[in-house]
């Protein structure tokens, strides 16, 4: 009934709602939208008009998930949705590979090194070491200070060239 691929008012409405949800800023990194992060898995309008959204967390313990769900709810209501149902789905696991090019550029401009390609293929070894480029001076001469940074999805790095510390998005 609401086939997103078909043209018509139903498809237009879904696109508008999806755009509204994707435009919501991430509460911890407001420079990124949920669309940039790629955490909105699906959006459907059910036959009774209920808008069903599937979100995926960037990490299982992401403390921002409740706020994200509230913000999406609010944005959809403003875009004209009546009932909204938000579901959190874990599989397939979110990966930084889903982050848009725009998102990566915004992160860099904001002073956070964007993630490299995620090395974790199914069942393969997890590669933790990659060199983050300094988002301030562009130098590749950097080192990781700690695997863990100001949010669960970032690590703490420092640049040997300009001596500035910076956050780097973990490639997961």
């Amino acid at each position: 009934m609401n086939d997103p691929h078909s043209a018509g008012p139903a498809a237009d409405r879904r696109s508008a709602l999806l755009a509204a949800a994707r435009a919501v800023p991430d509460p911890e990194l407001p420079v990124l939208t949920l669309g940039d992060l790629g955490v909105i898995r699906d959006l459907r309008v059910a036959d009774d008009g209920t808008v069903e959204v599937e979100l995926t967390p960037t990490s299982t313990g992401c403390p921002a998930m409740a706020v994200i769900a509230d913000d999406v709810h609010e944005a959809l209501r403003r875009a004209g949705a009546g009932q909204v149902r938000i579901r959190t789905v874990l599989a397939p696991a979110w990966t930084t590979d889903w982050m848009s090019e725009t998102g990566r550029r915004k992160l860099r401009e904001y002073g956070i090194a964007p993630p490299g390609p995620a090395a974790h293929a199914a069942g393969g070894p997890v590669r933790l070491a990659f060199s983050a480029r300094c988002p301030r001076c562009g130098s590749a001469d950097t080192r990781e200070v700690s695997h863990f940074g100001s949010t669960p999805c970032q690590a703490l790095w420092t640049c040997r060239s300009c001596a500035e510390p910076f956050d780097s998005f973990k490639a997961i």
Partner: protein, 252 residues
Amino acid sequence: MSGLRTLPPLAAYALALGDDALILAQRLGEWVAHAPQIEEDVALANIALDLLGQARTLLTYAGEIEHAGRDEDDLAYLRDDRDFRNVQLVEIPNGDFAVTMARQLVFSAYQYELYTALLSSADATLAGLAGKAVKEVAYHRDHAVQWVLRLGDGTELSHQRMQAGLDQIWPYTEELFDPAGTISELPGVADPATLRSPWERYVTSVLGEATLQLPEPRWRSRGGRDGLHTEHLGHLLAEMQHLHRSHPGATW
């Protein structure tokens, strides 16, 4: 609360894994503002948060299977110590930083094998969680490895204290691989016994590189999966559950 013996086996399994994660998250949280470096405050809090996220998924799932209306909060805050199914390893006090790192090494290495095995689970919820959690645990394990290497292969004093930390937690490691009730007969779950040899290979190689001796304890812990705990768990729960129990049903 009702006894856990009435829980369906899959719920008991999810609860056992969830309780391990929940109790260790609480323990690691105790380090915040007490770690030797501010980066470690942040690291241990992040690890605790990941574990809490895993616990929330697992406890919620256990409650859904049990089908008695208990949610993650009911299970975390309203059970007494005898109803917790975690291994004793995660409830013993943090000790010094070396004791905590020794525990982090053995537990993260165990969880890494566990979640890797669950990736191919027939159970969609467990497989979904594993896909997410295995990436987080890889970071936890690597964090512990770096410290164990640095302290073990460091100064005479750091070596001595790292070895002491290892000796202290080692009697609690074997329990991770004990069968828990009917768990090993369930389809879609990881038989704990099968995790032991990859775990041992990994941990042994790290200890070798860190110039540390594999401890040979004269006793081993038992019974956490059946609700038998050390006296430390009750104190931990008193702190963890106090607020929730003082203000039942409070929201803000």
